[in-house]
Structure formats: structure tokens, C-alpha cells
């Protein structure tokens, strides 16, 4: 059960990160620097 929860949480966070990369910016007034692997 714990493994499923951890896996689900990590997947949701990964989707969120990718969605933010595809978007123009975050929904609030602060945009953290994007991870180096996404920099072209």
C-alpha cells in the first residue's frame, strides 16, 4: 500500500512538472527555475 501511494505521488508530481514545462508559467506569481534537463 505504501509503495503504491509513493509511486502515485511521484507520478502525479512528474505529470505536474511536465504540464508546467508545457505551460507559459505557474498559476501563481512565482516561477521556479526549470530543471537543467529541460533547458534547450
Amino acid at each position: 500500500m505504501r509503495k503504491i501511494f509513493v509511486s502515485l505521488l511521484a507520478s502525479i508530481l512528474t505529470v505536474l512538472a511536465f504540464a508546467n514545462i508545457a505551460a507559459a508559467s505557474g498559476n501563481c506569481g512565482y516561477q521556479p527555475e526549470i530543471p537543467s534537463r529541460f533547458k534547450s
Binding site: K3, V6, S7, L9, A10, S11, L13, T14, L16, A17, N20, I21, A22, A23, A24, S25, G26, N27, C28, G29, Y30, Q31, P32, E33, I34, P35, S36, R37, S40
Partner: protein, 211 residues
């Protein structure tokens, strides 16, 4: 990106357990933290003044447009939260205090003016990126502009029909607050918007450090 702290530890733990990229997880956790901080502070500010419904109507509208159109940003999550809470509580308080019921025709005219101005600003400035996340791809710039326009059209049609079918002043005032949120978001796309945001950010930075 922060190297220490609870978020970093949580990201390291999740990456270790699942094999996913730690930096990507930390990035997402920072986004979640900023959102929670911003909406909590906004709720506290606006709840104290008794205007949280209007403040949230404005903030959520601005947030949805911001995802696709971008705009000015603060240099720290706390400062972003304070600026957002101050601005949207002010919008909420202004609407809650000064809203005078208007007819469908007047509202339609106001909406038309906001729509035209927003369209022009969207055409010139969207997507308005930030130093932390520059948008270099032309394809991405094009689809963000198209989505922003589409969202503006859908939102305008939706609020017009909601307004003409609104049964009480409270519902009408929430729509006006949403309009206020859009106006602020559109303003933050422009150079004066960036300047105001930057001044606000610098002012809070000076307060933080004690001048």
C-alpha cells in the same frame, strides 16, 4: 533550486523509492508549495476582510489565464504570495464594497472593452515568459497564444451568459470580480505590469532585509 530543506529531502526520498528524476520531483514540489502558500495567504487576507469569495473569483480567473499567457513574477514564493494576496484581496474588497448593479447592456459593453483590450495585449505580449523559464520554441509560443485567445473567447461568452442569467447581486458581483482578475492578469503581461510587479517585489525584499 533549493538544495536543502524538507522539499529536497522529500524529492530525494521519492526519487530513491520510484527511480524518477529527483530534480523534476523537486521542481513539482516547489510549484505545489508556492500554490498552497499563495492560496492560504490569500484566504487569510481576504477572510479577515470578509471578501474571500470575490478575492478567489478574481484569483482563480487570473491563475487560469496565467498558466497559458504567462506574466510578471516575483523573485521568491513568499513575496509572490504576499503580492497575490494583497492584489486579489483589494480587487475583492473593491468589488464587494462598490459594486452597483448594472444592466445586461452595460455589462456587455464593459466586457466588450475588456475583450478588445485583452485581445490586443495578448497579440503583442503572449506568452510573457520569465527568466527562470524562457520560452524559446516558436511552436510553443504559437500554441500558447492560440490557447490564450481561445480561453479568452470561451471565458467571455461564459461570463456573459452567467451574468444575464444571474438571479442576484452576489452572483453578478462575483462575475465582476472575475473580470477584475482578468484585468490584473492582462496588466501583468505588459511592460508597466512587469515594472509594478518588480517594484512591489523590490519593496518587499527591502522590508524583508530591513532596508
Amino acid at each position: 533550486m533549493e538544495k536543502k530543506g524538507i522539499l529536497s529531502k522529500l524529492a530525494r526520498f521519492l526519487a530513491h523509492e520510484t527511480g524518477k528524476d529527483q530534480e523534476v520531483l523537486l521542481y513539482a514540489l516547489l510549484l505545489v508549495k508556492t500554490s498552497i502558500l499563495s492560496y492560504t495567504l490569500l484566504f487569510l487576507f481576504s477572510w479577515v476582510l470578509g471578501v474571500w469569495q470575490w478575492a478567489f473569483a478574481a484569483a482563480l480567473t487570473a491563475a487560469i489565464f496565467r498558466v497559458f499567457s504567462g506574466g510578471a513574477h516575483a523573485s521568491h514564493p513568499i513575496r509572490c504570495s504576499i503580492i497575490g494576496a494583497t492584489v486579489f484581496t483589494t480587487v475583492g474588497a473593491l468589488v464587494a464594497t462598490f459594486y452597483i448593479p448594472v444592466g445586461n447592456y452595460q455589462f456587455g459593453m464593459i466586457l466588450l472593452v475588456v475583450f478588445v483590450i485583452s485581445s490586443v495585449i495578448f497579440y503583442i505580449y503572449v506568452p510573457a515568459d520569465t527568466p527562470g523559464k524562457p520560452i524559446t520554441s516558436q511552436v510553443q509560443r504559437t500554441y500558447l497564444r492560440i490557447i490564450s485567445y481561445s480561453l479568452l473567447v470561451v471565458w467571455s461568452a461564459a461570463v456573459y451568459f452567467l451574468f444575464i442569467s444571474a438571479r442576484d447581486v452576489f452572483a453578478e458581483s462575483l462575475i465582476i470580480a472575475s473580470l477584475g482578475g482578468l484585468c490584473w492578469q492582462v496588466f501583468t503581461l505588459t511592460p508597466p505590469g512587469y515594472l509594478v510587479f518588480d517594484r512591489f517585489d523590490t519593496f518587499l525584499k527591502l522590508l524583508w532585509k530591513g532596508g
